[in-house]
């Protein structure tokens, strides 16, 4: 029996959805021009993950296998629409910036994958722990990427000026910046794990 904390740690490090499992790449690259967008997208996704894992786990004995996927999609889409409506009501500015990527949370493969691989086979506690871990892992990854791109692209962090009179590295604001930053981050993590392994062998 795995503990709740193990699930959380698993989502943040061992099976980080972005850096290890490479799931949900569209929002990862699409909205991370600024750190705050990364947090917003990450929290919205976490909410949907929690909701869908909760319902899927509760209904795991009720939903027949044949209509599993359509049922999951409806459940996920319901929570996405909730986030969409609530964000439009309470955080209209963030809603505008995230734009089409909010409804597109529906097709974030991370959520369907967690519903299918974990929540539909496990108890409520584990499903929620996993959703929280994955959500935090996803949010941290997006925020990291957003911070790097915002810092290089605007000279700011969370809209606070870090370097005055910064000459912006403007490709960081474009999709190019997203691709290259993520590529270099993946390479960095790989370099780090190779080094660690070598250290163990030596």
């Amino acid at each position: 029996m795995r503990s709740f904390w193990q699930d959380i740690r698993n989502g943040i490090f061992t099976e980080n959805p972005v850096f290890v499992m490479l799931l949900g790449m569209c929002p990862v690259l699409g909205v991370t021009t600024q750190a705050v967008n990364g947090i917003g997208m990450g929290l919205a996704t976490t909410f949907v993950l929690l909701g869908s894992n909760l319902v899927v786990s509760l209904l795991r004995k009720v939903i027949p296998g044949e209509v599993r996927i359509p049922s999951f999609i409806v459940v996920i889409a319901t929570f996405v629409t909730m986030v969409d409506l609530l964000m439009l009501s309470y955080l209209p500015d963030l809603h505008k910036v995230l734009g089409i990527f909010i409804p597109l949370i529906v097709v974030n493969c991370l959520i369907l994958q967690r519903a299918e691989a974990l929540a539909s086979k496990n108890s409520l506690g584990r499903a929620l722990g996993d959703a929280l871990g994955m959500g935090i892992g996803f949010t941290l990854a997006l925020t990291l990427l957003g911070s790097i791109r915002e810092f290089l692209g605007f000279g700011t962090l969370f809209s606070i000026t870090i370097i005055p009179n910064y000459i912006p590295f403007s490709i960081m604001r474009e999709s190019t910046g997203g691709f290259i930053t993520l590529g270099l981050l993946l390479a960095f993590f790989r370099w780090y794990s190779i080094r660690k392994q070598r250290g163990k062998q030596a």
Binding site: C26, P70, I100, L184
Partner: protein, 192 residues
């Protein structure tokens, strides 16, 4: 009319390329771009589904969701339409052309979660396109998606032959190459 349709197709395929500019459809873009041949197969399947999804979701929005004031159910309805459509297309191709099915079959289930398909359906509505414009926007987006996939696959096939540091092998390098391709595509900005 023809001019505006050409502008829509060229804009969706090149200037506002779905993968490089709008950053949609990244999962299959990174997942399937190992070989040029499979990229073309995926592209063909996506083109088919995108054009059909554009038409069906447009009609759904116009004749059901707007009159009934149920626009907030858009996301659910659209994703269900796309999932159903993918199923129907799969069944149809399986029966009518086994050879085509062998070529495209493996890609079809992946299309449901390709966010470019839902993305194009939502963008059609947000851009207030009419039926023809929506369908051609779908086709243009699919052409752009295929172009991106084939371009990256061509480069990755070549990279497989070279000696690459294990740190960059595979995805990190593919992402950096994609970034450089996106930079090249941003040269089209302002053309249309």
């Amino acid at each position: 009319m023809i001019r505006s349709i050409l502008v829509i197709v060229a804009s969706a395929a090149i200037v506002n390329n779905f993968v490089f500019k709008q950053v949609l459809g990244i999962c299959p873009f990174l997942g399937i771009s190992n070989k040029v041949e499979t990229s073309l197969g995926m592209g063909a399947a996506v083109t088919f589904v995108m054009a059909m999804a554009s038409a069906v979701t447009w009609a759904l929005q116009r004749y059901l969701l707007i009159p009934l004031k149920l626009e907030y159910l858009q996301t659910i309805m659209f994703i269900l339409v796309i999932a159903t459509l993918v199923q129907l297309v799969e069944m149809f191709i399986k029966k009518s052309s086994p050879s085509l099915y062998r070529a495209l079959g493996v890609f079809l289930p992946l299309i449901t979660t390709n966010c470019a398909v839902l993305g194009v359906a939502l963008l059609n509505i947000r851009s207030e396109y009419n039926l023809a414009e929506s369908v051609f926007n779908g086709v243009g987006a699919a052409i752009g998606f295929t172009l991106a996939l084939v371009l990256l696959a061509g480069i990755r096939e070549r990279l497989d032959e070279s000696e690459v540091s294990p740190v960059f092998q595979g995805l990190p390098l593919a992402l950096i190459v994609a970034g450089i391709l996106a930079l090249a595509f941003s040269g089209f900005q302002g053309v249309i």
